[in-house]
């Protein structure tokens, strides 16, 4: 959990993924499309990957990946990201966190 929080606060936009997860690929594409350059951490490449995944599930992230943090705050999984994106709040959050400027 600490590792997760630690990494999440290091950059404005942070996404925890797995290398084999294709939905993670979709969410990454969306962020790039918006002009953000989020920090990507692949849990299957991390030493404490399993613990981190468990921690993310504890936050209510189901499925555990992709897990999105903006400005250190846990936003949600793919479903939440898409919902926020459609109603425009995702963009606003990114601007607020200074991940993007327009």
């Amino acid at each position: 959990m600490d590792r997760v929080k630690d990494l999440a606060s290091k950059k404005a936009a942070v996404i925890f993924t797995k290398s084999s997860c294709c939905m993670c690929h979709s969410i990454k594409s969306l962020f790039y499309e918006l002009g953000a350059s989020p920090a990507i951490h692949e849990l299957d490449r991390e030493a404490s990957g399993r613990e981190m995944e468990w921690a993310l599930r504890g936050l209510g992230c189901n499925p555990s990946v992709p897990a999105v943090f903006i400005g250190g705050r846990f936003i949600g999984s793919a479903k939440d990201v898409i919902s926020y994106h459609v109603d425009g709040s995702l963009k606003q959050m990114l601007i607020d966190a200074k991940a993007i400027w327009f």
Binding site: S20, S26, V86
Partner: protein, 449 residues
Amino acid sequence: MPSFVPANPASNSIGSEGNIVQSTQNTDFGSFEHSFGFRIEDAINLSRNPVFNQIKSNSRALGTDIQVRALNKSVVASETDQSSTASASQRIPLQKESQRNLVSIPGGHSENWGDSNMADTSPRTETSTDDTDDRNQRLEAGPSAALVASDSSGRSKEKPADQKTLRRLAQNREAARKSRLRKKAYVQQLESSRLKLTQLEQELQRARQQGIFISSSGDQSHSNSGNGAMAFDVEYARWLEEQNRHINELRSAVNSHVGDTELRIIVDNVTTHYDDIYRLKDTAAKADVFHILSGMWKTPAERCFMWIGGFRSSELLKLLLNQLEPLTDQQLMGLYNLQHTSQQAEDALSQGMEALQQSLAETLANSPPGSTESSGNVANYMGQMAMAMGKLGTLEGFLRQADNLRQQTLIQMHRILTTRQSARALLAIHDYFSRLRALSSLWLARPRE
């Protein structure tokens, strides 16, 4: 019993024929009805017969021929009786033999003149193929046989033996005819069975596509998913009916210009009803994601425009922009933005799907260079399959997110629009899909060459 009264001693071969005809005038016509009928055609065809031509050149055959023809016609015209096979076979052996020798094989049509079907009193009779073959053989032996057969004195002695032969031959012909009829009936039966088989196969194919798994081994898991697909199709049909009712209610409300509050209630009913289908889709996807993704529950034209198991929100918004005027600038901006964000999300999800396809392909294609240990290969194969199975499982996630996007887009649209505009938007969406469905029906019913 016919007797031979020489009427024209001058011509030997044809003359005897003429004699026979004349003599039989005095006997039971019924017995010779068929032979007469036959003979007329023979007489007509005689001119084509090389043997006859040969004989013709030897005697005054032509005159006799006409005599014969005229005689035959008058005889046949007065016929009323039907005769049995037996009596019909009691031809004048002389007559028959000479006929055989002189007859030409008619071009096409043959009817077995040994038939029990003696009803045919028409002058134009035909010979069977069997008989034709029969006669062909005799024809080849013709020229010499003709001269032999024309010996009138010899024929009368051979008569009894020939009668048996004639009877036998007639029975053979009868049997052959019956056999041909049976064969024809059998072939017709086969043809109709074949047609039915292709129809059944088509039905089966259609049923398979709809998810009904018909297996000889009775695989339970397959039939479960099949049932899931079928159950969804049924529920979708019901949902469409309910949707039609809601939309009709909305349409009449819009046309009768009801107040905003009342309209709002009806609009909310419709949007809530939309939630139902997404719930249904979610349940069905758990049972059979491929059925939903395939779009077989939609009509063909709808299927053409499908994107991850449903419609494309950005396209729908594009369609609506024209129909919702007048719009305020703010609304216009909001709708353009919505269309843009929807497009972005669609692209992101599409890219994810492509990555999934690629990954799956790589997993399945990745066969390690042949190792000597076969168990290693098996382990590899199983590992590959397990990985591929995992990847397939993520398809459900994509469908869920695509449906999520569709729902969210509609919700956001209603936030931007007024109640009345929302009502018109819902009507426009419904009309559009109705037209697509109607187009599908027309297409399926189109005449094909």
